[in-house]
């Protein structure tokens, strides 16, 4: 084997073909995992808010993009302190989530769900405009601003992954692990679940619903921002991130809008369908595949893979 883990020049053609095939397959698997991780990290934001408040946050893509721009801003301002820039950006993202709830969404509590959803659409439109006004429409590069590089790492079987893409995968695992543990064992996590199952009863038992909803919004914005930041670090930051956030809605629905496990599985299903369609069928299908999978799921199992069946009435 050569230094880079590739094949020896003296290998027979059959061995060479097998190696090439194996390398291709491993690269495909890596690509699927990375794309699924991106979708999963974005999808959990939709689930967190819906699970607790039955509101579909249509501004999630814009909030994720805002998180990335906040990182760019802190990276520029704190050019020689990248870690501080990252921490400040994360804290600002949490603050944005709380602010969105306290200033706007709190007023929608008790109103029609449709009104709340329309409010999130308006928030998204507002954010898009503000972002262009503040940062312009040019592509930005937070990675360079932080002074980091994004080297390509060799993976088993000759495949490769960028450092930031690997970080996306690791962070997705960390975020989901933390959320599962928090919701299962954390005091506030249990309260969130209670508020999601029966808000009236939860309120009567002394659970502060506004605090719970604010927590959900802050966690959702945080996870979305982490996704946005990592995507921006890997491949640059521009307005197209909004549409990526929208595409992640499909995995959330496929898995079940109130299930984190569902979001993870939905992301894997959609991610693998997309990568395989690009590789074996037609690259143009990459835009269509998430929604084809979604339609197929809605036809067969409208509440999603792991969603609660009763949610169908609310959707």
């Amino acid at each position: 084997m050569s230094e880079l883990g590739g094949q020896d020049a003296d290998a027979s053609p059959l061995t060479s073909d097998l190696w090439h095939l194996s390398s291709e397959s491993v690269q495909l698997v890596v690509n699927i995992i990375v794309l699924a991780a991106i979708y999963a990290l974005l999808a959990c934001g939709y689930v967190l808010i819906y699970r607790v408040s039955r509101v579909m946050n249509m501004a999630h893509g814009e909030l994720s993009m805002l998180g990335a721009y906040l990182l760019f801003a802190t990276a520029t301002l704190l050019a020689h302190h990248p870690i501080a820039a990252l921490i400040v950006a994360v804290l600002m993202s949490i603050a944005v989530g709380v602010l969105v709830y306290v200033v706007l969404m709190r007023r929608m509590t008790g109103e029609m769900v449709l009104a709340a959803i329309l409010t999130t659409i308006a928030i998204g439109i507002l954010l898009r405009g503000v972002i262009v006004l503040v940062w312009s429409a040019s592509e930005q590069h937070p990675l360079q601003a932080l002074g980091f590089t994004n080297p390509s790492l060799p993976v088993f079987g000759g495949a490769r992954i960028s450092t930031c893409a690997a970080l996306i995968v690791v962070m997705t695992a960390l975020v989901y692990g933390s959320l599962f543990a928090f919701l299962r064992f954390g005091r506030w996590g249990v309260r969130m679940r209670a508020a999601g199952q029966n808000p009236l009863l939860a309120a009567q038992r002394g659970i502060n619903l506004h605090a719970i909803y604010a927590l959900a919004w802050s966690l959702s914005t945080l996870t979305g921002s982490i996704a946005g930041m990592l995507i921006a670090l890997d491949s640059g930051l521009d307005q197209s991130m909004v549409v990526i956030g929208l595409k992640a809605f499909a995995p959330a629905l496929v898995g079940g809008l109130d299930s984190l496990l569902g979001a993870l599985c939905g992301a894997l299903i959609v991610g693998s369908s997309e990568v395989l369609a690009i590789h074996y069928v037609d690259p143009l299908l990459s835009d269509v595949v998430p929604f084809v999978v979604l339609i197929a799921m809605l036809t067969v199992r409208p509440w999603g893979l792991f969603g609660t069946r009763e949610e169908l009435d609310r959707v």
Binding site: Q27, L35, S138, I161, G236, S240, I278
Partner: protein, 390 residues
């Protein structure tokens, strides 16, 4: 005061304001612009509109043209065909513009062209890829100042690759899934065959995409040693970066969009080439200094090197309106545009000249740039080469 009196007073104020605005508009050249100021292609289309605005503001500050100011009515279409159509309709029927300017993705062209034809108002593409309708014999109402254009760009690029390649060329092609990008890459594929190059893979990538690696993987697996991309910069650069992340080490050439100069300096990759019709600011011509100075004074958010397309649009607009005289209508503007001959002062390889039959230019000039590691600077890979436009 009763409600009825208040309503009447309000209506009167509105009517007077509208009348004043209309009177003011009638005393100015009214030019409409629909552009992708926000949205996926705003990085490419936003700066030309901003540069045009800057140019027009300078003209107006200096007294305007023929003693009249230019009123630029700018609307955002977010590169969405339906929004572009609505903008065009409003600019043409309500604002009564005598020239409509478009700076957006090619997916917006069809509805805007239809509106311009309906209103019989000339349409100028600026900072947006030139459609084939501006080539000879040109469609009467369509004009294009943009550097890049279908057919000629691929010819020049493939000629360059053929000249630069050390051995057989295994060509990879990359387009964005929008009409003109796809059409150009299809043309490049056909032309490459006639030049003895084999196309090993062609990727048509939808905008936007969460991860370009799957597309880059196919190009790498196909063993391309030259990849040519003719698409908005976002597709070009992200595919290139994805290829490099896969440890693909060969040559990549893309169109030199407004972002190219800054990006070549950021990426510092000696095998990344750009082909363009605009000179780079690193050439430090007097006109570059003039633009940089104007950008600094106006505190424009975009870098000066992204202003070239819009500045050329401004040069052409100025020349056309001077020629059209006053009072002006769409017909006079169209006639003036047909005879435009503008000295681009080194921004391009030669003058921009239009005729009744040719609304593109008489000659298209190309230059190639790349990053030189030894000099730690951008260098010309090939100087101006002219192609006759027939």
């Amino acid at each position: 005061m009763s409600q009825r009196m208040l309503a009447g007073a309000g209506a009167a104020v509105l009517a007077i304001t509208a009348h004043i605005a209309a009177a003011h508009a009638q005393d100015a050249y009214v030019i409409g612009v629909t552009g992708a100021l926000t949205g996926p292609s705003s990085g490419t289309n936003g700066p030309p509109v901003e540069a045009l605005r800057l140019y027009v503001d300078r003209l107006n500050a200096a007294g305007g043209i023929n003693g009249k100011k230019i009123q630029l009515n700018i609307l955002d279409d977010q590169a969405e065909p339906s929004k572009a159509a609505t903008n065009a309709k409003r600019l043409l029927t309500q604002d009564n513009v005598s020239l409509l300017i478009l700076s957006s993705l090619s997916s917006t062209y069809a509805p805007v062209v239809a509106e311009s034809k309906r209103a019989n108002v000339p349409l100028m593409f600026m900072g947006a890829v030139c459609p084939k309708e501006v080539y000879p014999p040109a469609q009467a109402l369509q004009f294009c100042t943009t550097a890049y254009a279908g057919g000629y760009d691929s010819r020049a690029t493939l000629d360059f690759i053929k000249g630069a390649a050390a051995g057989p060329v295994k060509l990879g092609l990359v387009a964005m899934a929008i009409p003109l990008s796809r059409g150009e890459i299809d043309y490049a594929e056909e032309r490459a065959k006639t030049m003895g190059m084999s196309t090993v893979d062609k990727e048509v990538i939808p905008p936007p995409t969460a991860d370009y690696t799957p597309f880059a993987t196919k190009l790498k697996d196909a063993d391309a040693n030259w990849v040519f991309s003719w698409a908005p910069w976002v597709t070009q650069v992200k595919t290139f970066e994805a290829l490099r992340r896969l440890a693909w080490q060969d040559n990549y050439i893309g169109w030199s969009h407004i972002e190219a100069e800054g990006e070549l300096a950021r990426l510092k990759d000696p095998k990344l080439y750009v082909i363009g019709a605009n000179s780079f600011f690193q050439d430090r011509l007097p006109v570059h200094m003039e633009i940089a100075d104007a950008v600094k004074k106006a505190s424009v958010r975009y870098p000066a090197e992204q202003m070239t397309e819009g500045w050329i649009g401004g040069l052409v607009l100025e020349a056309a309106l001077k020629k059209a005289g006053w009072p002006v209508d769409a017909g006079k503007v169209r006639t003036a545009l047909e005879g435009v001959s503008v000295d681009t002062k080194g921004l391009r390889g030669g003058p921009l000249e239009w005729s009744k039959e040719n609304h593109f230019r008489a000659r298209q000039y190309y230059r190639f740039y790349r990053w030189d590691e030894a000099k730690a600077a951008i260098v010309q890979a090939k100087d101006w080469t002219a192609y006759e436009v027939r």
